[in-house]
């Protein structure tokens, strides 16, 4: 059987999102690529900042692409990568600092935080790559139509090129822990979900691995997926940078958010992504949301017990919902690059979307393209959880945009980190929280 991925309605977004990029490393250190020979012999060398995402397949994938690019373009182009260790917010902060010093790398990922992308775009810091896309029909054909259309700005330019494949966020669940609690399958509706949480808890099992630190990735994704329960909720999530959060749908969603914290480890309040991941991979929590890029972590014995991946399932969130946005990952080129560097960086962008790399992207991170046929052998060799992930695509009813691409950076990095713990613990009530959200909107607009 050859499996053809057909999900044109679903967008992409690979794992720049917090879950995919946060690692257990706390510092924001960087590591050189070690390509000491790059740039020599008249090659055009350009700089590239990428997140070293230890424990997931992302870094492995990007390293392969970089090696292939450097080998295939020896003597012409060379990419000099700085692998930054840290989380997605660390990465964005580093970009802010480099931008302030006018030292942006030639190519980088600006999809992790749309506020930053907008700032760079509005201040003429990014290169319009549309002429390059239009000039190469083959490359254009490899990119998803939806995404290229979405990425055309009001001025007709395209500044950000997304991955050629998508990585929706669903939920990992520990089948053994569910079985211990007497639950045979993953709940499909929200009522069943809460019932399962109660049953797990009654059996002495912590249902959810959550966090509030960073941009609250593991908890906020579940809550925002609840928005698929109503058309009003879906409409709200489709709003880019809402003017107010004082809406019935958002209130209801936040009630769900608070309720989630009845079912997690106590250190989830104030905890970060790595903590949530540790709870899940150490079987201290039965469920955790994330994208397929976490698959490698399940069989990496540095993170998980031997054979852990054999009893972990992957499925949609309740309501057959997944979360992703095309623009959660997107490479951009700095306007301060020379014409030669821009051309070299465009070539690198093209390399990312070749058929060979799209298939590898799927194998290592779960990136799914509607334009590339997945070989049967590749499918058969997938680990069981990855097969479940691949099969999940046939059964998705709702796609909710990733909140990280819809809400401003003050909300994501400040309000969530400091005020979600206060809300969950009852130090502030829902009205106060929503007022804080609206104040953050005003402050951002200033």
């Amino acid at each position: 059987m050859s499996m053809i991925v057909t999900l044109s309605a679903c967008g992409s977004g690979a794992p720049a999102a917090e879950g995919g990029t946060e690692t257990t490393q706390e510092n924001g250190g960087t590591e050189d690529s070690g390509n000491s020979d790059v740039g020599e012999g008249g090659e055009i060398t350009f700089t590239y900042l990428e997140l070293g995402d230890q424990g997931t397949g992302l870094e492995d994938f990007y390293r392969e692409v970089v090696d292939d690019f450097n080998n295939n373009n020896k003597g012409t182009y060379a990419v000099d990568v700085e692998w930054m260790q840290g989380s997605s917010p660390d990465y964005n902060n580093k970009l802010r600092m480099l931008n302030a010093a006018d030292q942006l790398p030639t190519i980088f990922d600006a999809g992790g935080e749309i506020s930053l992308y907008n700032t760079l775009k509005n201040n003429g810091r990014l290169v319009d790559v549309k002429p390059y896309i239009d000039a190469d029909p083959e490359w254009k054909a490899r990119l998803e139509d939806d995404c290229t259309e979405q990425f055309i700005e009001d001025d007709g330019a395209i500044y950000m090129v997304p991955e050629a494949a998508m990585c929706p966020v669903g939920i990992f669940w520990n089948k053994d822990l569910f079985a211990k609690a007497g639950i045979e399958s993953f709940p499909e509706t929200w009522d069943e979900f809460w019932e399962a949480c109660d049953t797990l808890q009654a059996a002495g099992i912590t249902p959810l691995a959550l966090q509030t630190a960073g941009s609250a990735w593991t908890s906020m994704i579940i809550a925002t997926s609840y928005m698929s329960s109503s058309q009003e909720g879906i409409d709200f999530m489709n709003l880019s940078f809402p003017e107010t959060y004082d809406t019935p749908e958002f209130r209801e969603m936040m009630e769900v958010y608070v309720k989630l914290f009845q079912y997690c480890n106590p250190d989830a309040i104030g905890g970060d992504y790595s903590l949530a991941q540790n709870h899940f991979t150490n079987e201290e929590a039965a469920m955790m949301i994330n994208g397929a890029w976490m698959m490698e972590t399940l069989r990496d014995t540095n993170y998980s017990p031997e054979g852990f991946e054999q009893h972990v399932g992957f499925t949609t969130l309740p309501g057959k919902t997944v979360v992703y946005s095309w623009n959660q990952v997107g490479r951009v080129i700095s306007a301060s690059a020379t014409e030669e560097e821009i051309e070299a960086a465009v070539e690198y962008m093209k390399t990312l979307s070749t058929q060979e790399h799209v298939i590898r992207y799927f194998e290592l991170t779960g990136g799914y393209s509607s334009k590339v046929e997945l070989p049967e052998e590749t499918y058969n060799n997938l680990m069981p959880t990855m097969k479940e992930y691949a099969d999940m695509f046939k059964d998705i009813d709702h796609v909710i945009p990733n909140y990280q691409t819809q809400w401003n950076s003050i909300i994501l990095n400040e309000v969530f980190t400091t005020d979600l713990p206060a809300l969950v613990q009852g130090s502030i009530d829902m009205d106060q929280f929503i007022q804080i959200m609206d104040d953050a909107v005003k402050q951002y607009e200033e």
Binding site: E26, R96, N123, T417, T418
Partner: protein, 292 residues
């Protein structure tokens, strides 16, 4: 003679030029930029737009600022009235040179050799609600109801963060101890012959003589907590709510999350004015500007 004097002046100027250049480049110019940009709306990319006192007005109208200022002042008070006195007391105890004093002195220094980042991370684990040492200890002695999510509950967060640095006063101990060694031992010996107790010698002889170095200690400690950033950033990010927010953290947030460089620099100017205020007050209180 006159020729010699002129030549000396030239040499002095020549030797001062590198220092003055570095000072201007690394301190005076950024300081000037900070002050100027504090009166502008500036996102770090577009040209600065002069807005007069707008940033300062917004800052003083902001509830976040008042909370951050309150927290900053609480820490300043804790530094001046607990951290520094504790360091001085330890130095007075060590100065008696009882058995094992060198070991105590070295042990007391160790936390100061650990980076603030590592220390903050260490305390993050100590304060963890489920497996943290503090809660485990409290559970172990039957005080389960005293356990908290220390860094994430509004009632305990500020207190917990304060304890991360409050008791590590080795720098104060060192400078005070060094000052103590300069005091003539004859003074204490005479007092002893006259029947003074150790406590009386400390209170009536040593402390008055240590007045200026204690003033220096207060300046170092208070200005240090004004600038405190790493500990808060790593442990609570200023939360929950604004419970542990201070001015330095607020500055960082304004730059990183909304690129409001003008606003952030206005906060920086206020922080600088606060530090200068502390310096002036300490100068007066501890007579630091007076000759012996």
């Amino acid at each position: 003679m006159r020729k010699n004097s002129t030549s000396t002046k030239i040499w002095i100027i020549l030797f001062l030029i590198p220092t003055a250049a570095v000072f201007c480049l690394l301190f005076a110019v950024p300081l000037f930029t900070t002050v100027v940009s504090s009166f502008t709306k500036w996102n770090g990319m577009e040209p600065m737009k002069f807005v007069g006192l707008d940033n300062y007005i917004k800052i003083f109208q902001s509830k976040d600022f008042l909370t951050a200022l309150k927290n900053t002042l609480i820490w300043a008070a804790a530094a001046a009235f607990i951290h520094v006195p504790f360091g001085v007391i330890v130095s007075l105890v060590l100065f008696r040179k009882r058995k094992g004093w060198k070991f105590v002195r070295s042990s007391f220094m160790i936390p100061n050799m650990i980076s603030k980042t590592a220390l903050a991370l260490m305390f993050t684990f100590i304060f963890k609600p489920d497996v943290g040492i503090l809660n485990s200890f409290l559970r172990g002695i039957g005080l389960e109801k005293w356990t908290h999510n220390w860094l994430q509950e509004e009632a305990t967060a500020l207190f917990s963060i304060t304890n991360i640095w409050l008791w590590y006063a080795a720098l104060i101990t060192l400078i005070t101890f060094s000052e103590l060694t300069m005091i003539s031992s004859g003074l204490a010996e005479s007092a002893k012959i006259d029947g003074a107790t150790d406590l009386q010698i400390d209170l009536l002889i040593y402390l008055p003589l240590l007045k200026r170095i204690i003033g220096t200690g207060v300046v170092i400690a208070v200005v240090g907590v004004f600038k405190e950033f790493e500990t808060i950033f790593i442990t609570t990010n200023g939360g929950p709510g604004n419970a542990t927010m201070n001015l330095a953290m607020m500055m960082y947030n304004r730059i990183m999350n909304s690129s409001q460089y003008g606003y952030a620099n206005a906060l920086g100017v206020l922080l600088l004015l606060l530090s200068i205020g502390v310096l002036v007050i300490c100068n007066k209180l501890f007579a630091m500007d007076k000759e012996d």
